[in-house]
Symmetry: C2
Subunit: 127 residues, 2 copies
């Protein structure tokens, strides 16, 4: 625990958070329904994960009827930034090139994707 403002999340939590992001806002059940078929975990488990994410500051919730609707609390951009950076540091010592290289070599990204990226770089965003 270095000096991280916000507690890191576990892999399982990460997946749940992603689903909430995807849905914008979601109840426990909605998250459960969104889990990939090869990953069936109990309703109660998802609930625990959501609660933990809220504790850690990633999510907040409000009530809709009896159900809790969870939604992002921390800025997604920032969370992704920290998470990717951390991953990169641990697996590649911080150098992103081997990662992207890996993706390219394994056909995970296509030519078109790359052309798109080029545009992104040429035209620095948000300026």
């Amino acid at each position: 625990m270095t000096k991280k403002e916000i507690a890191a999340m576990s892999p399982a939590e990460t997946e749940i958070l992603r689903i909430v992001w995807e849905l914008g806002a979601a109840t426990v059940l909605e998250v459960v329904d969104q889990l990939p078929p090869e990953r069936q975990i109990a309703y109660a488990t998802v609930q625990t994960l959501l609660r933990r994410l809220e504790h850690k500051g990633y999510l907040k919730h409000k009530s809709r009827g009896k159900a809790h609707v969870f939604m992002a609390s921390a800025r997604k951009e920032e969370v992704i930034s920290r998470t990717v950076k951390d991953f990169l540091n641990r697996l590649f010592g911080g150098d992103p090139v081997p990662l992207v290289q890996y993706l390219a070599e394994h056909g995970e990204i296509t030519r078109e994707d790359i052309d798109g990226l080029k545009k992104l770089i040429d035209k620095p965003k948000g300026k």
Copy 2:
């Protein structure tokens, strides 16, 4: 634990493994010396991590004098593949494009990197 042949490694372990890969082969002390300054953990801790990595099948060791020299046991390519895939699944639902996009937007990868990638894609490797 789905049906993974080899036990997943923890973040801390991942970092240690990367260092061993980087050095090719290394004693505990050599790994310790390679840790980034902002991450100072005790000799004994590194030892434990190395031991655990060996147990899980990522490393093996042989003795050089009194010291153990650790080196890769599992195929690096494969380990990276699994690790990246898992990360991608959890944080981006498996889609690599947002990840690379993030890297591009944040100046983590440059124009040149991208041009290099293009070559990789155009010329499918190992064929």
